[in-house]
């Protein structure tokens, strides 16, 4: 196939996108928004931590009853507590505004809650009563145990795993992260570029410019040129997103180092159990192949859909179905990961529309064999080629079907004989 004029198409498409202020506004708004959100979260978290620390240091005067006998009077006194036998009277004093806090420690604090009667200082500040109640019981229990190590063990135990598979040390969770990034990349690429892919062939139809274009270049060149242009724009968009984040990470080490940011963003939940991130070259290559195949497949599908639809609005409604196919494997992830050999897992692994996500997920978790990976890749590339071929064919047939949706079966039936659908 001659690629006559493909450079002109790519340059025009890229240039006109990059010269639009809306592109830069949209692209820059994402890192900007992320920066604002992270900054707000950081300040909010720092403020909360400072507030909690201040509350811990502040001695609160309170009364308490102790049905369990666990509470150590000396610990209670240090925290500002005074033992009382008149629970109702102490509670009434709080209700009438004469005291701030009264606690009733139950007979069995391990199964029953500590009753708190406290002054309402607002939804945030009132939280300190819970802190006081917990500190009172926990500090008294620790005092009774009398051994700091035992006390620490009761509250937190660290673990470090050494996993083995087929006689070899397994990377475990540390081996999941790197190949799983390709899954994230696939979602980002399709979500960010999908709409543009869908509109690749619609624009010419909507503008009635198809006939003039087709006398200057081959439809395959137009489509390939536009796909390449969208990819280039996507790369630029990704750089616009990544560069500020990287710069921020380099210039503000505290952000990259975690600390308050990690706490604020909930990242402390991502516990690799002490395992380092491991990069398995074979798994990474399979992931890369699945990513490229999957991306091309969705590109081909979206181009084909765009070729059938007369307007961007009509094409947009079909985009939802594609997204649904991408997210479906996530809903069945537990089944797929626990039982990759089941019929459902196998179907999702090999059915073209669910295959990229399912295979990438299984590859990341280490339940996709190399042979399966190569097989799925072959299916993805074959289907991508088929969809692109169909997209070009349908574009040629539907390019001058300006006002109506192209009848697919009729188009294919006729295209062999060169007729109009």
């Amino acid at each position: 196939m001659k690629l006559h004029n493909i450079g002109t198409v790519i340059a025009f498409e890229v240039r006109r996108t990059l010269t639009k202020p809306s592109f830069w506004l949209t692209s820059l708004s994402i890192p900007l928004l992320m920066a604002v959100v992270f900054a707000l979260m950081w300040f909010s978290n720092a403020s909360t931590i400072a507030s909690v620390d201040a509350q811990r240091e502040q001695v609160v005067s309170f009364t308490y009853t102790d049905a369990s006998g666990i509470v150590d009077p000396a610990v209670a006194a240090d925290l500002g507590g005074t033992l009382t036998t008149d629970a109702e009277g102490a509670a009434r004093a709080v209700r009438e505004g004469n005291a701030e806090l009264h606690l009733d420690v139950p007979a069995d604090p391990s199964t029953e809650p500590v009753r708190i009667v406290g002054a309402d200082l607002g939804p945030i500040a009132s939280g300190q009563w819970h802190v006081v109640a917990r500190d009172l019981v926990e500090a008294s229990a620790a005092e009774r145990i009398g051994d700091p190590v035992l006390t620490s063990v009761l509250t937190s135990v660290d673990t470090q795993a050494e996993l083995w598979k087929d006689g070899e040390r397994s990377a475990g969770l540390g081996g999941v992260i790197a190949p799983a990034l390709f899954l994230v990349l696939l979602y980002m690429a399709v979500l960010m570029l999908g709409q543009q892919m869908l509109n690749i062939t619609v624009e010419e139809k909507e503008n009635r410019v198809t006939e003039m274009i087709l006398t200057t270049l081959d439809p395959r060149v137009l489509i390939i040129g536009k796909v390449v242009a969208v990819l280039l724009v996507g790369i630029i968009q990704a750089l616009v997103l990544i560069v500020p984040v990287t710069l921020a990470g380099l210039l503000i080490p505290a952000l990259a180092g975690g600390g308050a940011m990690a706490t604020a963003s909930g990242m402390e939940g991502l516990d690799l159990a002490g395992e380092p991130i491991v990069v398995d070259p074979a798994r990474m290559l399979v992931a890369a192949g699945l990513f490229v195949g999957g991306f091309l497949l969705f590109t081909g599908l979206l181009v084909a859909i765009g070729s059938v639809m007369p307007t961007a609005k009509d094409a947009g409604s079909a985009f939802g179905a594609v997204i649904l196919a991408m997210f479906l494997p996530l809903y069945t992830a537990t089944l797929v990961l626990n039982d990759p050999g089941s019929a459902v897992s196998q179907f999702l692994t090999w059915f073209p529309l669910t295959s990229p996500v399912t295979a990438l997920l299984r590859n990341a978790m280490g339940s996709l064999s190399l042979a399966e990976g190569l097989g799925v890749m072959a299916v993805l590339f074959a289907m991508a080629g088929l969809f692109l071929w169909a997209g070009v064919r349908l574009f040629r047939q539907g390019s001058i079907s300006y006002d109506k949706r192209l009848h697919i079966a009729k188009a294919f039936r006729m295209s062999g004989r060169g007729e109009q659908a």
């Binding site: 001659k2 006559h4 004029n5 002109t8 198409v9 025009f12 240039r15 006109r16 624009e203 503008n207 009635r208 410019v209 006939e211 003039m212 274009i213 087709l214 006398t215 200057t216 270049l217 081959d218 040629r396 390019s399 001058i400 300006y402 006729m414 295209s415 004989r417 060169g418 007729e419 109009q420």
Partner: protein, 317 residues
């Protein structure tokens, strides 16, 4: 291959630029074009005529590779149309438009590049054209902000960029205002004078008579008439004489009155009747003539005879 015209303005080169042989196109079970053959010679202005649905646009689309023909050969310069070929094509389709959200100069430059011009040359050419048609101040405006007439001018500019050696214009004046219609006809004339081959698909019979060297009349996908305008006119009527007179016309012999009023008449001549002979007969009969205008049957009348209705009353395709 050279093309030109003699001192009378007649096309002189007979080298075919377009060759269509036994072209058939089916839409389902219906043959829209059936075994059509014709050729367009270098330097001539060729009219592709017919009622709506007669297969004109389908023929052009197949010629330009937008449709693949069911059967037959459609060649431009001896080969199937190829966008990458070294000749330049200017095509104004019936369904026309441009990238409305883009700037005028950008769109024109893009099409210039697609036609093989250097980017800088295409931009200069476009700027010059916009100056000529009074749109230089709109060069950086988005097309969607231009009026319909201004967009038509841009469309015309895109069509004639790179001085095409072959111009194919499908219903070129359709939707054009009188100013742009005039502009279009001037541009066609300029391209013609420069030696371009022009194919016009039109309903406007007046334009056919003014512009075309040869025509093809399509009816139900078949060639109904094909040849020079004069040949076609002769084939569908030998001639018309319009006269203003005083007196009484002699008995009809070799002619029949189409219109006969007290002092004005339109006479259709029989195929073997010479207008000069009729003139002599009228003078001999004592008819006092103030005007005597002999002409061929108009293309409008030819169209009427072929299709049974006026060109602008065709049925939808």
């Amino acid at each position: 291959m050279s093309a030109g015209r003699d001192s009378m303005g007649r096309m002189t080169n007979t080298t075919p630029v377009i060759e269509v042989r036994d072209f058939t196109m089916r839409f389902g079970d219906r043959a829209v074009v059936d075994r059509l053959s014709f050729e367009v010679r270098a330097g001539e202005t060729f009219g592709l005529l017919g009622a709506n649905g007669s297969g004109k646009t389908t023929t052009v689309r197949a010629l330009l590779g937008i449709y693949t023909p069911t059967a037959g050969r459609l060649l431009v310069h001896g080969r199937p149309f190829d966008p990458a070929a070294d000749y330049s094509l200017g095509y104004l389709p019936e369904e026309r438009g441009l990238y409305r959200k883009e700037r005028v100069l950008d769109v024109m430059t893009y099409f210039g590049q697609l036609k093989g011009m250097e980017r800088s040359h295409a931009a200069l050419w476009s700027q010059d054209y916009l100056d000529r048609v009074g749109l230089s101040d709109q060069a950086n405006a988005k097309l969607t902000t231009l009026s319909g007439g201004q967009q038509q001018k841009v469309q015309l500019g895109v069509t004639i960029m790179d001085d095409p050696s072959l111009l194919i214009l499908d219903e070129p004046t359709k939707g054009f205002d009188p100013v742009n219609r005039r502009l279009l006809l001037d541009l066609i004339e300029a391209q013609r004078a420069a030696g371009a081959t022009v194919v016009i698909i039109t309903h406007q019979m007046e334009e056919v008579e003014r512009l075309c060297d040869r025509v093809l009349l399509l009816k139900d996908g078949r060639a109904e008439a094909y040849g020079t305008v004069a040949d076609v006119q002769d084939a569908y009527g030998s001639g018309i004489v319009r006269l203003h007179f005083s007196g009484t016309l002699p008995e009809a012999d070799g002619w029949r009155p189409l219109t006969l009023e007290r002092n004005y008449a339109e006479l259709e001549l029989a195929p073997d009747t010479d207008p000069q002979a009729l003139l002599r007969r009228l003078v001999d009969a004592g008819v006092e003539l103030r005007t005597f205008d002999a002409s061929r049957t108009s293309m409008e009348q030819v169209f009427l005879k072929v299709y049974g209705h006026a060109p602008d009353q065709g049925v939808a395709a």
